[in-house]
């Protein structure tokens, strides 16, 4: 009997021992280093693996996806979507963790495995803090779907950061339009992605050493800043295609503060203020508060887990009224008073967006008049070379501005003493009401006017009639806009009046340009 009891205890004891000591397969290993550019978890997590047929079927199941397929072409490759975490730099130089996407082409076609080029993509402004561009399972991740269809499904390895301040980031703010931070983060995720690639489940696809840089809107600025930073670091960039970016930031700031308020400005302003306050500490002060007392929490509001529409609905931000409809009267300066009036006198550079400017004024408003006046005074004292009066070479202000916000624009303006050494395409649309084509893209092209022919190419997808090597893209964009205009006037599209439909088209213009410029970027990259 003693033996019986011992036997059963032994059996149970063995079970317990085995449960404690039993092996279990391992998951990814976290890095012990936090050096910038270090892959934080190796191998990276694969969110999804989709073959070419499934990708085509899934995109084709929605009208927007079908339109994207029409533009991008039928996928040649499947795509593995990896979610990578890496260490990078914050806006104030702090070490921080960030995340992003590594999209790897898969499949038997020759273009889908073996040594392949990398496209590094910088996304546009997004108010959603949870943004994860790697998450292709999220139907709201349209930008992720765009770059997957346009690049990864056609044989490019795609690397794209979510940006510090988003997703898993604990930074607490997003270093919005901070050229040093954002270019640094692009270089860091590229380094991490190159480390990750051989250890993925898609190791049959490798880096062939070719690197293409692109990005849209905010990401256009980031892509250009990255090109500049990589050139300075002696790193090879095969070609670049910044798209619809606020490159001439000081000039754009001038247009806005003089009354040419862009669509989206009440979303961009909090992001800018938070970013630059952390980086430079000169945007907001108790003596000259940037934001009106109606919106006391504006500076730290974005990005947010609350949808931007809800933020507007709850009155946490005004939807369009950046400035007060009671424009400032500047004592002793009739010129400044006129310049800050509505409409400004003299008029801003001719722009098809002029009717939209009116939306930027209202009550309640976001930015205090005193700040407008201080900005404008600084801009008149130390003028930008493009706004309000273009000068030869359209440079940024000759000396560093003294007013904080304008100083920050100056620092992050792309008109510094550099020029692309790799073929560069600057794509955008001339009626863009969010990032003005004439102020940003045309200014940069003029700034680089002395470069050898062919090094910098400008593409206006709205150019009519279409011409040149990208005429097909221009034609497709304009047909798409016309189709949208017609659709919005049908019962299915909401039955808008022609004027309402035109306004709706222009309100979505900036977003609508993106896939067409991206298609142009791919065509541009394919030449190299």
């Amino acid at each position: 009997m003693i033996k019986f009891v011992k036997a059963s205890l032994t059996a149970l004891g063995m079970a317990t021992l085995c449960a404690c000591g039993g092996s279990s397969s391992q998951t990814g290993s976290p890095s012990t280093s936090t050096a910038h550019g270090t892959l934080a978890l190796d191998p990276p997590f694969r969110i999804a693996s989709v073959n070419a047929a499934t990708l085509a079927a899934q995109l084709g199941s929605t009208s927007a996806g079908a339109q994207l397929l029409e533009l991008a072409g039928t996928p040649t490759c499947g795509v593995d979507f990896y979610y990578i975490k890496f260490w990078t730099i914050g806006g104030a130089g702090e070490t921080t963790e960030s995340s992003g996407a590594l999209m790897v082409p898969t499949g038997a076609a020759p273009a889908c495995s073996g040594p392949r080029p990398i496209v590094e993509y910088a996304h546009g402004t997004n108010a959603n803090k949870a943004l994860n561009i790697a998450d292709i399972t999220n139907t709201s991740n349209t930008e992720g779907a765009l770059i997957a269809a346009m690049f990864a499904a056609q044989g490019y390895i795609v690397v794209a950061p979510n940006y510090a301040g988003y997703d898993i980031s604990t930074l607490g703010y997003h270093p919005f339009l901070n050229a040093v931070q954002q270019s640094g983060e692009m270089m860091d995720i590229l380094s991490a992605a190159r480390t990750a690639l051989p250890g993925t489940m898609t190791s049959a696809t490798s880096d062939n050493g070719e690197l293409f840089l692109t990005g849209y809107s905010e990401g256009g600025h980031v892509a250009m800043a990255t090109l500049r930073a990589m050139q300075a670091a002696g790193e090879k960039v095969t070609a670049a295609a910044p798209m619809s970016g606020p490159y001439a930031l000081e000039a754009l700031g001038g247009v806005i503060f003089f009354g040419g308020v862009n669509l989206g400005s009440t979303e961009f302003s909090p992001l800018l203020a938070n970013s630059y306050q952390h980086a430079y500490g000169n945007v907001n002060s108790s003596t000259l508060p940037l934001f009106s007392s109606t919106y006391p929490n504006a500076e730290t509001l974005l990005p947010s887990d609350t949808p931007i529409d809800t933020i507007f609905e709850e009155g946490l931000l005004p939807e369009t009224a950046l400035f007060s409809s009671t424009t400032p009267v500047v004592a002793g300066s009739a010129e400044l008073t006129a310049l800050l009036g509505v409409p400004p006198t003299p008029a801003l550079p001719a722009s098809p967006q002029t009717p939209i400017f009116d939306l930027g004024f209202g009550n309640p408003y976001l930015i205090n008049n005193d700040v407008r006046v201080a900005y404008a005074e600084d801009a008149l004292t130390d003028p930008d070379g493009a706004v309000p009066t273009p000068t030869l070479g359209v440079p940024r202000a000759k000396v560093e501005p003294t007013f904080g916000l304008r100083q920050d624009f100056w620092v992050n303006d792309m008109r510094t003493d550099w020029a692309p050494e790799s073929p560069t395409l600057l794509c955008g649309g001339d009626e863009d009401p969010t990032v003005y084509f004439s102020i940003d893209t045309e200014t940069m092209v003029a700034y680089w006017g002395a470069l050898p022919a062919g090094l910098v190419t400008m593409l206006d997808v709205g150019q009519s009639p279409p011409s040149g090597p990208f005429a097909e893209v221009q034609t497709a964009f304009q047909a798409s806009q016309a189709a949208l205009l017609a659709y919005l006037q049908t019962p299915a599209g909401g039955g808008l009046t022609p004027q309402e439909a035109e306004e709706a088209v222009i309100e979505n213009y900036h977003t609508n340009v993106a896939p067409f410029c991206t298609a142009a970027a791919r065509a541009f990259f394919s030449q190299f």
Binding site: S8, A11, C18, G22, S24, G28, I47, G78, T137
Partner: protein, 231 residues
């Protein structure tokens, strides 16, 4: 000795007393049994939840066979206590639900495996006198199951998105059995039984910190065919 009036706890206590063997001096009180353990899973599980898991992703377990070892202690008036053990088998968990997750095959793929130790303690009642050639019996008891060597397969890692750490919590649940003993002689006998036990566990797969989990009820039934020796 009115042992039939004692409760299970008292019987268990008695088992620890060496003196009790003297009460069965005329009949061999102990059996050892060895045979085949055929396990049939009746798996039910909630759909797996967690990051990046599409709807309808579920699990099921593959039936298996292993070596059965039983140790039985007989008591007067037809009662017995059985400890049923099995050689720890490799239990395979298969994907159930969509044919693919993304484009990765899922339904029917073996996505993980684990060995388990699952002792069952059964309090049994045998019908008919112990001299009968055929004696049916029934039993009720408790099962304890614990898992080890938990492994995510290559297919599991593919579906999960990377190397995955599997955990399955230990389970305690009721068990019942019914069987038949064929008496060859005083020492040797054959047995066949069919039993069921409740095994509920919490399954978690951790891939790079992304945890996907579900509650699984394996609820196995088992057909045991064995030979026994009394001593």
């Amino acid at each position: 000795m009115k042992i039939t009036k004692l409760n299970a706890l008292q019987i268990a206590t008695l088992l620890s007393l060496t003196g009790i063997t003297t009460a069965f001096a005329d009949e061999p009180p102990n059996d050892v049994r060895i045979g085949l353990y055929s396990v049939f899973y009746h798996t039910s599980a909630d759909d797996i939840t967690g990051p990046y898991v599409p709807a309808g992703v579920n699990l099921t377990a593959e039936n298996l066979e292993t070596l059965y070892v039983g140790i039985v202690r007989h008591f007067p008036d037809n009662f017995a206590l059985e400890l049923a053990l099995g050689y720890p088998p490799l239990s395979k968990v298969k994907g159930s639900g969509p044919a693919t997750v993304g484009s990765v095959p899922y339904d029917g793929q073996v996505i993980s495996s684990a060995r388990w130790i699952s002792p069952t303690l059964l309090f049994e009642y045998n019908f008919l006198p112990d001299t009968a050639k055929l004696r049916p019996y029934i039993g009720v008891g408790v099962n304890y199951t614990t898992f080890y060597d938990r492994t995510s397969t290559v297919a599991g890692n593919e579906a999960s998105g990377g190397p995955t750490r599997i955990s399955l919590t230990a389970a305690v649940g009721p068990a019942v059995t019914a069987g038949l003993t064929y008496r060859i002689n005083d020492r040797w006998h054959l047995h066949a039984s069919y039993g069921w036990s409740q095994v509920r566990t919490h399954f978690t797969g951790d891939t790079d910190g992304f945890e996907r989990s579900t509650h699984i009820s394996f609820n196995p039934s088992a057909l045991i065919v064995s030979g026994g020796y009394s001593f």
